[in-house]
Each structure stands twice: as C-alpha cells, then as structure tokens.
C-alpha cells in the first residue's frame, strides 16, 4: 500500500457564476496543483456547477479553533453599537 502515501490533500473551492464568491465544496488527493485542478473539474463540475476553481493545499490552511471561541471572539462581542438596530429612530424614518 504505497498508493496515496505521498498524495497531498487539497481543498476545492468553486465559483458557481461570475459575481459570486468561491465556495468550499470538498476535498481530494492529488500529487500537484495542476492535477488537483483537473480532478476537481472532473469531480465537482460535471454539470456546469462552476466557472472558476480554486484548489488549496489543505495543510496550508490555518484555522481558528471553535473550542477557543470565547476568548477568540470575546473582544468583538461587546460592541452592540456596531449594529444598525442599536439606534432607535422615530417610526417615520426607521427604514433608514
């Protein structure tokens, strides 16, 4: 079983049409970036699901830990004045 031992894991992102963001759709194993792109095309765009593909080496992704949520996001959570609904306006102009 020497097979995929050296095969890197890639994350695949698709832009479904121009004007939209690339969205994560899944992952695959490939030896290099070009091969990852071709695999992604074969696997994730068989029905015109995308006009542009990104492939990213999974190990290059640095991710926040959901378990550290509190300490990580805390400083941002106590600023209700950042939300439009924080400001009470008279009914006549409330659709502002």
């Amino acid at each position: 079983m020497t097979d995929n031992v050296n095969m890197k894991l890639y994350e695949v992102f698709l832009r479904s049409r121009r004007g939209l963001d690339h969205k994560h759709v899944g992952s695959l194993h490939a030896e290099d970036q070009e091969q990852a792109l071709e695999y992604a095309r074969d696997v994730y765009t068989r029905r015109g699901e995308g006009v542009s593909i990104w492939v990213v080496n999974s190990s290059d992704i640095c991710a926040s830990q959901e378990s550290d949520c509190e300490s990580f996001y805390d400083p941002l959570d106590d600023k209700p004045y950042r939300h439009a609904t924080h400001y009470k306006l008279p009914d006549e102009v409330n659709s502002m």
Partner: protein, 323 residues
C-alpha cells in the same frame, strides 16, 4: 487536527464532554471534524460512511457490465455518465470519512479484506438490459429515500456530501424508469424482460434498508446521535408507498401478493422479506460477492503503475527545482 486522547481524561471530564456532545446534537447543531466526539460515534460513522462509499464504487460494476451492450448510443452515453457519477459519489464519501482521521488506504484495505461491507444489492448479477432500468428505478430510488433522510445527519461533512449526491442522483432514478417505460411500450418480449427485471430486483431493493428496527444492531444509538434521522422500517415504508404508483403507471406488477393498501395506516402493507437470503448475501454468499471484490482488487492493483508514475514524475520535478 487536535487529537483528544480519551484515555488521558478522567471519567468526570469524559462525562462532561459526552453531555456537551449530546446537547449539541439535541440542539440540531452539526458535529464538525475538529470537535470532540465519543470514540463510538467516530467508529460508527466511519463504518457507515465507508460502507456507503464502497457501495457507490462497487455499484459501478453491475452497470459497467452493460455499457458496451447498451441498445443505442444515447443509452450508452447516459449509462457512462451515471457510472461516472457513482465514482464521484464514492470520492465525496471517502473524503468525508477521511475527515474522521482514517486514510483512504485503510478504507480500501478493509473493503478488500472483507471487514467493511457494501450494499448487498450489488451482489446480484445484471442479466439483461432491463436490469439497467430496474437498478436505476429501484436501487437508486431506494438509495435516494435513504440519502434524502441523511442530508440531515449530525456529522457535517457527511450531511454536505449527501446534499451534493442527492442533487445528482435524481437523474439516475429517472433514466432507469425511462428504460423500463420504453420497454413497457414495446413488444410482448420487451415487456416480459422489464417485468422479469423488476421481479428479481424488488425484494433485494427492500432489503437495502437493512434489518427491521427491532433487529438492527446500530439503529437505536444511531437515532440518538442523529446519525440516522429515520429508522430502517420508516424509510422502507416510504419507498414501498412511492413505488406502487410508479409501477402502476407503466403497467409493471410488483412481485408481492401481500401488497395492499391499508386505509387505517395510510400506507401499503407488504409481505415479509426473506431475511435468510439477506443474511446469506451480506455474509458473502451472494451470486457475485467474490467477483465484485476480486474485480475491485484487480483494478486497484493494475492501476498502481499510474499512481507510481505520478509519484515518480512529481519526484523528478521536485529534484529539478532543487537543482
């Protein structure tokens, strides 16, 4: 990935983690790869997802059998597209199993050594062209009923791959029904061929939903963890109810004398499944069990030179970059 070693946790810590895990599930939140999860949940899901992945991949064989003999170029193109989809579905599912910390090689190895199962239905031979119709209509139909339910499964990556698969799968069922429909508009011989295929595949399709709830080894825990959202018997009933009308619409008969509408239940009653046959096929004595795994093993082995070549090419590129 953070590795939680359950052995290093005290029993009260473990209890707390378990409780938090169940709370999250009860609140309909998804479990994601980096979350702590009970070892049994992880094992149970690897078993279920890999079984599902292997089914997609092994499922290519009975249909691949007819690609070269499809009656028209159009049917051939359709069948090729369908089989290609199954390969893609296998990949989606292997990828989600891998997020639980198991490698593709381990998954394939356990298919080859028989410790992982795949859907028992693919151990039945495909004897005529009409079988392509019956497989699409009934087997993909049953799979869809199961997969629609699994779109709400508690493990995020599995749920997301189900959404993608369900989107693609409805063409599979419709093309199969279309094959049977066309045969049912044909000669007496063609009609008989369609009916024969349905006769052979109806009962094995019902078996795809697994044992009765009371006899199912994993059901109760899977429901509590919301890995499964509906029980085997609920899903089977749904499949029977939808199939009766579909059969009638094109003049096919489902081979079950006990199939009758039950006004009180609001469902069709149906006969008992031959569970001895189910056990026989699951445990390796179906018509094609050995052939299916041997073929997969052969294809895997014969493809190893391609994988080796890819690695060698990459190695060469790397060494040139260094030089």
């Amino acid at each position: 990935m953070i590795q939680f070693d359950s052995k290093e946790l005290s029993s009260s810590e473990l209890e707390g983690l378990n409780a938090h895990f169940q709370e999250r599930i009860d609140a309909e939140e998804k479990i994601e790869p980096k979350d702590w999860m009970p070892e049994k949940y992880r094992k149970n899901l690897i078993r279920q997802i890999s079984q599902h992945a292997h089914s997609e991949v092994i499922g290519m064989q009975p249909e691949g059998n007819w690609i070269t003999r499809a009656p028209t170029l159009h049917r051939k193109a359709v069948l090729l597209a369908k089989v290609q989809d199954e390969a893609g579905h296998g990949l989606y599912l292997y990828s989600s199993a891998e997020t639980m910390g198991i490698t593709r090689e381990e998954l394939i190895e356990s298919l080859h050594d028989g410790s992982a199962k795949y859907a028992q239905i693919f151990n039945y031979p495909t004897l005529s062209w009409a079988d392509m119709g019956a497989l699409g209509w009934l087997v993909d139909g049953a799979a869809i009923v199961n997969q629609v339910s699994l779109q709400r499964t508690s493990y995020g990556p599995y749920a997301r791959s189900m959404v993608r698969i369900c989107k693609e799968e409805s063409f599979h069922q419709r093309q199969g029904y279309h094959i049977l429909m066309t045969l049912m508009e044909g000669s007496a011989e063609q009609k008989a061929m369609a009916q024969d295929a349905v006769n052979r595949f109806w009962w094995p399709s019902l078996m795809m939903f697994g044992p009765h709830d009371a006899a199912s080894a994993h059901s109760a825990q899977s429901m509590k963890w919301k890995v499964k959202r509906q029980t085997n018997d609920e899903l089977r009933q749904k499949f029977v109810d939808q199939s009766v009308e579909q059969a009638k619409a094109i003049g096919l008969t489902l081979p079950d004398p006990d199939l009758v509408w039950n006004e009180e239940r609001g469902h069709f009653d149906f006969g008992e499944i031959d569970w001895a046959e189910f056990d026989r096929v699951v445990s390796g004595s179906g018509h094609c069990n050995r052939e299916r795994v041997a073929h997969h093993r052969r294809a895997h082995d014969e493809g190893s030179w391609v994988r080796d070549a890819i690695c060698a090419y990459e190695e060469k590129k790397r060494s040139r970059e260094v030089a």
